[in-house]
């Protein structure tokens, strides 16, 4: 079946943003992790940045970071069947004090084309793929994450597919004891070799119809 690979758009976006929303350096973990709004929401950064964070640093300050990756998948045909999808991120440096993992989730930022601090609580908790342990990730290459059946249903055939990432211990609201973060590349980086991507395996609506008609004619 055909595979179409989608990429977020760079700044200034008109369809699909990517970036991170952070809530930085608070004294009480529950307040930082459970906040409605963050402290920063950069979406036009080039090069390596730390998006995913569930971290305690010196002085007992806590930072939680969440990644947003939206893909314009409207070129798929409404009626196509999505049979598989792989979400890929170019990670760089991993710090893993508490044996944390990456969880792929859905996101619902206020805008498809920009991130704001109020989007901090717009990263979901439902796992769209099996978690990937930070210890299993190799830096400076793509980590490919196969979406589960829930994730496949969140690939839009008509508009924007809104995914993102949190650390598993952020989702579980587990207070960190040290630095747990992972740096990555977003689409604003120069070139096309490190961008987030979503590879969707899909049967074409017309192809499905032809197969159905053929089956009917052959009685199988």
């Amino acid at each position: 079946m055909p595979v179409t690979t989608f990429y977020p758009q760079v700044d200034p976006e008109t369809t699909s943003v990517d970036g991170r929303v952070l809530n930085e350096e608070g004294a009480v973990y529950a307040t930082v992790q459970g906040a409605a709004a963050g402290t920063a929401a950069p979406s036009a950064e080039a090069g390596e940045v730390y998006a995913l964070q569930n971290t305690k640093t010196a002085g007992a300050v806590f930072t939680v970071g969440r990644a947003f990756t939206l893909f314009d998948t409207s070129s798929l045909n409404n009626g196509d069947t999505v049979s598989a999808a792989t979400y890929s991120i170019w990670f760089v440096v991993i710090n893993n004090a508490d044996t944390d993992s990456v969880s792929v989730i859905t996101t619902s930022p206020a805008s498809n084309t920009n991130l704001v601090t109020d989007d901090f609580d717009q990263a979901g908790t439902t796992k769209q793929a099996t978690d990937v342990a930070l210890s299993a990730i190799t830096g400076n290459q793509y980590t490919d994450i196969a979406l589960n059946s829930t994730g496949l249903t969140n690939v839009s055939l008509t508009g924007i597919s809104k995914f993102g990432m949190r650390t598993a211990k952020d989702i579980a609201a587990t207070q960190p004891t040290g630095v747990n973060n992972i740096s990555q590349m977003f689409a604003d980086t120069a070139g096309t070799a490190n961008d987030p991507k979503l590879a969707v395996t899909h049967s074409l609506a017309l192809e499905t119809s032809v197969k159905s008609i053929t089956s009917l004619l052959l009685g199988v």
Binding site: Y7, V10, A40, P42, G47, D72, S75, G191, T192, A193
Partner: protein, 109 residues
């Protein structure tokens, strides 16, 4: 002025050959700005380029994004039988070179 491109999507057939890609072209320059409290010099895009700014793409097939913006389409009729992103990049770099008024960024020369 500098120029670069980014993928919207790349489609492959069952056998892995690339059948179609949709590409966004941009104009920008190397500038210095404060990002997260740090002065950073890098390429920054300032304008999306379309048929009006890229005469050599006039009349090319395009596809509308979800926002309604036209995006340039290339097919195997343009780039031949290729499978890898690197092969596609070589082809697209050659398209960037056709823009006489702008210089491709170093990553796409």
């Amino acid at each position: 002025m500098k120029t670069d491109y980014k993928f919207w999507y790349v489609s492959r057939a069952d056998d892995g050959h690339i059948t179609e890609c949709a590409i966004r072209f941009y104009e920008g320059d190397i500038t210095t700005e404060i990002e997260n409290g740090v002065s950073i010099t890098r390429y920054r895009r300032t304008k999306r380029l379309g048929e009006d700014n890229l005469p050599h793409f006039k009349g090319r097939k395009s596809r509308k994004e979800a926002s309604g913006t036209d995006t340039v389409i290339f097919t195997s009729k343009d780039f031949g039988n290729i499978k890898t992103d690197d092969e596609l990049r070589l082809f697209l770099n050659s398209q960037l070179k056709k823009d006489a008024s702008r210089t491709p960024i170093d990553e796409q020369k």
